[in-house]
């Protein structure tokens, strides 16, 4: 089960990079960035996962000695990283809008005033 | 590059080929045309030199005095091309280009060569009448005593070359009328007409 998670994560990251490398539409590049991010988040969550673990919520009543938690730290990390990813996507899309206004295109091959 | 090294090293140890000029005077080579020397006493004021001078370096200034006309011929070396035409055209060899090349001056005056002579007024016009269209026979034309040219009408073909060449403009020749007239006042007796005449009709 965890293997599927990792494969999924890697697949997402690879697809993300693929989009960033091959797709010339800047929106698609942003989508690629997003995909990479999601793949990573998936991976981090998977790292903290323990088979059969419960949610790391400390309640006196249900806690027994045989129970163990999933690692809460990666979840915190993932949350942070999701927020950051969302910010980055928002920022990138905002820039895309401005780029379209300024260049009249979303083709990355034509947005190359800075070169050489 | 190696031959050059050889050349340089041999150059270093051989005598320099430089002239020691300012310390040791150097003569100009034969035939060098340098500073103009004007022998004023030989000049007959024909003006040929002034005519042929390309650079316009020669000018004449004349001044009437009691004894005659005081003529000053001025050669401005600063305008001279040293072509030697003036000397070549001077029948009297009054102009000479010396091999003196040292023509350096701070002022204009130092570059001027001048000569002055007095052209005396003609003493007499005695045999003036003798000229003109002589009719005394074929070979009766004799040179005049005052050195002015005489035409031999028997030989003359009235080609007008002499009139064209006369520096003083003293000759008037008419082909139709077959006349040859000399203005004695103007004539300087330079001999150009005699020299130029194709039929050798002018005698001096």
């Amino acid at each position: 089960m965890m293997l599927a998670n990792y494969i999924g994560a890697v697949a997402l990251i690879v697809i993300g990079f693929y989009a960033m490398i091959v797709k010339h539409d800047v929106i698609k590049i942003v989508i690629g960035m997003g995909l990479t991010d999601y793949g990573l988040n998936l991976m981090i969550v998977s790292i903290g996962f323990n088979e059969g673990g419960t949610a790391p919520i400390y309640t006196f009543g249900e806690l027994t000695s045989g129970m163990y938690f999933v690692d809460p730290v990666p979840q915190a990390l993932t949350l942070t990283s999701i927020v950051i990813g969302a910010c980055v996507t928002a920022m990138a899309l905002a820039l895309c809008v401005r780029l379209y206004k300024e260049y009249g295109t979303l083709d990355s091959r034509r947005i190359r005033r800075l070169h050489g | 590059m190696l031959p050059f090294i050889k050349e340089a090293v041999t150059g270093l140890f051989s005598k320099p080929s430089t002239e020691a000029y300012p310390f040791k005077p150097v003569d100009a080579p034969a035939g060098y045309r340098g500073r103009i020397v004007f022998h004023a006493d030989q000049c007959i004021s024909c003006g040929m030199c002034e005519r042929v001078c390309a650079g316009g370096a020669i000018s004449t200034r004349s001044e009437e005095t009691e004894e005659g006309t005081l003529i000053t011929r001025r050669f401005f070396l600063g305008s001279c091309t040293f072509c030697g035409h003036c000397a070549a055209f001077c029948v009297k060899h009054a102009i000479e280009l010396s091999p003196d090349y040292h023509m350096v001056a701070r002022t204009e005056e130092e570059l001027v060569v001048e000569g002055t002579y007095l052209k005396k007024k003609p003493a007499k016009k005695a045999e003036a009448a003798a000229c003109g269209n002589a009719v005394e026979g074929e070979s009766s034309v004799k040179p005049r005593e005052d050195g002015l040219p005489v035409n031999d009408p028997a030989k003359c073909v009235y080609c007008t070359l002499c009139a064209k060449k006369c520096p003083a403009g003293a000759l008037t020749v008419d082909r139709k009328e077959k006349t040859w007239v000399l203005d004695e006042d103007k004539c300087v007796a330079c001999g150009t007409c005699a020299g130029i005449c194709p039929k050798k009709a002018i005698i001096m």
Binding site: K23, D37, L95, E102, I111 | -
Partner: protein, 638 residues
């Protein structure tokens, strides 16, 4: 502990920036109030860090602060730590100084922009992010700060609404920068998976010696990620774009400070966390990347037509120096690299500020459109010369002192390893230095000297409030170059010792004896002794210079009676000699220069110019390739 009070200073220094960032927005359109708040924040932060110099640098304390008082329990550090050793403080000081000077410069500089309200918010966020990275003792915290910093930097890059290139640059920066962030996050996640802790000290106690393929991968990822943030070789084009488009005072931060976080990250990763720098393969890699960055970027810089873009390429070139020096893994190399880091911040900051002054005065930084400004802006020109001499390593300015140490380091490394390759590294360094000089002569000739363009007849000197930060930077450039001994004693020596003494860092965080118990640290290393293969004594040089200058002056005064007059008027006699023609505007500048060089290297230069195509996808390809190559290299040689 006598230093108890100092414990709170680092976190305060960070929080100051973030607090300030939001308080500034309250000031709204009231400019003075905003400036006062921002200025106070920057000064407080700076003074907090300066007060740490004595305990950390001189007395060798390592200050650890646990956020929320979450101290390690049973040898596991769960809380977020702020840990300040000499290395962190070194970079922290560098950040605080650069931020303060750039900030004070911005007060006036930014008035030309239409939306200057959010500027200081972003600016202080950026500063806080950078400060957070260098003072943090927590890997994930570093990532978060990295993102905050990147975010603010992207915002600031796109900030200039009237600069048509700003959005493009910001977008590329964001996309390619995201590769770096991805790498850092991936590495962090993998490290956490292995160690179940994010505390730097604890990781560096646990990881070394326990390398497995996952960790090698994690190392490669972290290395690439921080490399991306330092804009090392294949990531350099975005740096050039971003520096060129951002306002100059921000460029100072991006080039002088932002890149240093990457360097700091690389030091932490390879000297502390994984301790891989002992491997000759790692040294070779870092040195190779350094040399490549150095040479490629300096040749790119020679081809540029924009003042700031040229400076941007030089930033990466200088980062190449730093990486090379750090890659040597010898005390003198590290000291040289750190020295160059602080010098680079100073002189590149100065140069960016002069570029900003030119932009402020004339409205352009395009080299072909400038010229002769030294007559109108003499002080800016003088400051530019100081910066240019520093960066090209002209004694006695600071660039030379650090470059000299780097040469010593490379050459000694060559002798030590017997490998001639390191001697060739010295050669590359020297050649790069000369090419740097060349490109600054190009800038000098194009912007400050040569003929004054007629349209700049009414240009004025930059305002005093902008000149003061520049003069301070220039003075620092001069002083840091003049006293390398003091620098080594008080800043570089402790920092170098900190780099080489991982055990102390671990013990400070985790309790004494922790390092010895867990891993391969025998004991503390002695203070590193820096021995040089040569000597350089700038103070004596200066003294001799002054003495001889006095002598020459005296002689020339004595001979005044016979000397010709110095005349300067505006008549035909004093017009420029144009072979007799009337003086007219004719400026040999920018692209006209260095034909002989360009002609001989035209193949290479043309190729490089085409390769930097400006297409985002190409840069992503480079980044991904770099990631792949570094990973493969690590797997093969570790």
């Amino acid at each position: 502990m006598t230093y108890e009070i100092f414990k709170h200073f680092p976190v305060l220094a960070i929080m100051c920036y973030f607090l300030g960032a939001f308080i500034v927005t309250l000031a709204g359109k009231r400019r003075v109030l905003r400036n006062v708040v921002a200025g106070a924040v920057m000064l407080i932060s700076l003074s907090l860090l300066l007060s740490l110099v004595v305990p950390v640098m001189v007395n060798g304390e390592i200050i650890t602060y646990w956020m929320g008082n979450w101290e390690p329990v049973e040898g596991y550090a769960i809380g977020i730590a702020i840990e300040v050793d000499a290395l962190s403080l070194f970079f922290g000081l560098l950040v605080a100084i650069a931020v303060a000077l750039a900030g004070f410069y911005s007060f006036r500089y930014i008035t030309q922009d239409d939306a200057n309200g959010p500027f200081f918010t972003l600016f202080l966020m950026l500063s806080g992010g950078v400060m957070g990275i260098v003072l943090s003792g927590d890997l994930f915290n570093i990532y978060v700060m990295l993102e905050v910093m990147t975010f603010a930097a992207v915002g600031l890059t796109a900030f200039r609404t009237w600069n048509p290139n700003a959005r493009e640059a910001a977008f590329k920066y964001l996309v390619v920068g995201s590769i770096g962030s991805t790498c850092v996050l991936l590495g962090t996640a993998l490290v956490y998976g292995q160690c179940h802790t994010l505390n730097l000290a604890q990781i560096s106690a646990m990881l070394p010696g326990n390398m497995n393929p996952t960790m090698i991968f994690a190392f490669a990822m972290l290395f690439t990620g921080f490399g991306c943030k330092s804009f090392m070789f294949p990531f350099h084009p975005i740096a050039a774009d971003a520096h060129g488009a951002a306002p100059s005072s921000v460029s100072v931060l991006i080039s002088g400070v932002f890149t240093k976080t990457g360097v700091y990250g690389i030091i932490r990763v390879s000297y502390f966390l994984f301790r891989t720098m002992g491997l000759s393969s790692m040294q070779t890699m870092l040195v190779f990347i350094g040399c490549l960055s150095m040479f490629v970027c300096v040749t790119m810089a020679l081809n540029q037509h924009d003042f700031k873009r040229l400076l941007a390429f030089h930033s990466i070139s200088q980062i190449g120096y730093i990486l090379t020096a750090l890659g040597l893994c010898s005390a003198i190399g590290i000291a040289g690299g750190l020295y160059h880091a602080i010098n680079h911040t100073l002189f590149k900051g100065l140069l960016f500020l002069t570029a900003g002054a030119v932009l402020y005065a004339t409205g352009t930084t395009y080299l072909d459109k400038l010229g002769g400004l030294a007559r109108k802006m003499p002080q800016t020109a003088a400051l530019f010369l100081v910066g240019a001499f520093s960066i090209s390593g002209i004694p006695p300015f600071n660039g030379f002192a650090s470059k000299w140490m780097i040469y010593q380091a490379t050459f000694e490394k060559a002798a030590e390893t017997g490998s001639i390759g390191y001697a060739l590294v010295t050669v590359v360094c020297v050649v790069t230095s000369v090419l740097t000089l060349a490109s600054f002569i190009k800038v000098g000739q194009s912007v400050f000297f040569g003929q004054l363009r007629p349209e700049y007849e009414n240009v004025k000197e930059t305002p005093l409030s902008m000149r003061i930060p520049m003069w301070i930077m220039a003075a620092l450039c001069f002083l840091t170059g003049l006293f390398p001994d003091l620098m080594i004693k008080y800043l570089l020596g402790p920092a170098t010792a900190a780099v080489l003494n991982t055990a102390r860092y671990i013990d400070a965080a985790m309790g004494a004896g922790y390092a010895e118990a867990t891993a391969y640290f025998d004991s503390y290393l002695a203070e590193p002794v820096l021995t040089f293969a040569g000597t350089w004594d700038p103070v004596s040089w200066l003294v001799l210079f002054v003495i001889i200058m006095c002598a020459v002056t005296l002689v020339s005064l004595a001979g005044k009676s016979g000397r010709g007059a110095v005349t300067l008027t505006d008549d035909a006699k004093h017009a420029t000699f144009f072979g007799g023609e009337e003086a007219q505007y004719s400026h040999v500048a920018s692209g006209d220069l260095f034909w002989g060089f360009k002609h001989n290297l035209r193949g290479y230069l043309g190729f490089m110019s085409r390769a930097h195509s400006g297409v985002t996808n190409d840069y992503v390809v480079w980044g991904v390739c770099a990631m792949a190559v570094i990973t493969a290299y690590c797997f093969i040689f570790m």
